[in-house]
């Protein structure tokens, strides 16, 4: 026997045994984790866990329990999943009470999304300066409009129909512009809600000639009703278009009415999908409406 052979044999058999042991431990019979925790869930299940915990809070209003359920999870995941849930629910027009609960939970967990502000009582409406006794609003025949949604070059065809309804004297809401828009996209009602321009007294005294600018208003609830149903939306969900913007899909041959705050007091009714003029012998295509609703400064606070 050569002098080094026993040592080599021992080392070789240890290595061989190590390899066999690892194959058994990692492949044949790995540690079976059957008692895992939520933070080990796959990312989609983890987000589902967060959504369920949030809905659990909506159902039982137990904040401590919701926090305990979310405690093991990373804050990034919580923020991402809750934001998606709040925004999806807002877009679906879920009940305000549900939205308030979700928004409150999100706030408690340090999550913030613009859709929440509406339900947390954080007013997004700017407070216009109180009118001075000497202030006189400067009439503006063509009020400055908010920018339209980003679409292909629109053909804007002003039309006089239908006529905005006369609203009760106490109503702060008024349709100040209604325009047919032909963009080649699906028929929509695009509403821009803005505060009525107010001129500060100091400006007038100083002889300023600058036209007052209306301010887009977020957090205004709009209702679109038709004979068989209703839809609800809140301005402020698409701030990249305009903070006071909201849109509704329209269907052909259905008469719609638009209301603000409550569904029973329309500011606009008899609204139908308009037809854009035909070109090159093609049939007329459905168009959209662009409506501007002005809110007097005395409008009620947010819900």
């Amino acid at each position: 026997v050569k002098p080094g052979l026993p040592f080599l044999l021992l080392a070789g058999s240890i290595v061989m045994g190590l390899i066999l042991g690892l194959i058994y431990a990692w492949v044949i019979d790995p540690v079976d984790l059957i008692n895992t925790t939520p933070d080990l869930l796959r990312v989609d299940y983890r987000h589902e866990w967060i959504r369920l915990a949030a809905l659990g809070y909506v159902a039982d209003r137990d904040l401590t329990r919701a926090q305990a359920r979310l405690e093991p999870l990373p804050q990034d995941d919580i923020g991402e999943a809750l934001t998606a849930l709040v925004e999806a629910y807002a877009a679906q027009g879920r009940p305000a009470e549900t939205m308030r609960s979700l928004s409150y939970l999100a706030q408690q967990l340090g999550v913030h999304t613009p859709a929440m502000d509406i339900y947390l009582g954080t007013s997004l409406r700017p407070t216009p300066p109180p009118p001075s006794p000497s202030a006189t609003p400067i009439p503006s025949p063509t009020p400055p409009l908010s920018p339209p949604p980003a679409t292909a070059t629109p053909i804007v065809l002003p039309t006089p129909t239908p006529t905005p309804l006369p609203t009760p004297a106490s109503s702060p809401y008024r349709v100040i512009s209604q325009t047919m828009v032909c963009t080649g996209t699906a028929a929509q009602l695009r509403v821009f809600v803005q505060s009525a321009p107010v001129v500060a007294g100091t400006q007038e005294r100083a002889g300023a000639t600058e036209t007052p600018q209306p301010t887009p208003l977020a957090g205004v609830v709009l209702w679109l009703t038709w004979p068989e149903g209703a839809d609800r939306a809140v301005t402020g969900m698409r701030p990249w278009i305009d903070p006071g913007y909201v849109d509704f899909a329209l269907e052909m041959d259905v008469p719609y009415a638009l209301s603000v705050d409550e569904p029973n007091f329309p500011v606009l009714s008899g609204l139908m999908v308009p037809l854009c003029p035909a070109s090159d012998g093609e049939p007329p295509q459905p168009g959209s409406w662009r409506v501007i609703v002005s809110v007097e400064s005395s409008a009620s606070p947010l819900r």
Partner: protein, 122 residues
């Protein structure tokens, strides 16, 4: 010459022991993408309870069934039944039991202990 097989055996046994120690303890397989069915029992219970709560809020039975299917694909209602009966027996929170019974009712899996909750007189 007799020592050689003995040494090989000792070496192999030591190697296997080391391999198992490393594979099961030191560098064990890490599970980071687990599914709800692998959750610990208390988290599974919480999951079922949250599914019942989501059903209360959304009223979407299909979604509830899909979520429960991650725990028991063959019989999604069974985890609800098991948990409800356990909570009833243990005197759990009534509002939790009511949500679970409501879900069990939606899934067509009401059992005798749940009936009083459906009748409003537990």
């Amino acid at each position: 010459m007799r020592k050689i097989p003995f040494l090989a055996l000792i070496g192999l046994a030591t190697g296997v022991a080391l391999g198992l120690l490393v594979g099961w303890v030191v560098w064990r397989v890490e599970y980071t993408n687990t599914a709800p069915e692998q959750l610990r029992q208390d988290y599974r219970d919480d999951y079922i309870l949250m599914v019942a709560a989501a059903y209360q809020v959304e009223g979407n039975l299909g979604a509830a069934r899909d979520r429960l299917g991650l725990l028991d694909a063959d019989d999604p209602a069974q985890p609800v039944v098991d948990l409800t009966e356990r909570l009833i027996a243990a005197g759990g929170r009534p509002s939790d039991i009511e949500m679970l019974v409501d879900l069990a009712d939606g899934l067509g899996a009401v059992t005798a202990p749940m009936v009083p909750y459906l009748e409003g007189s537990p």
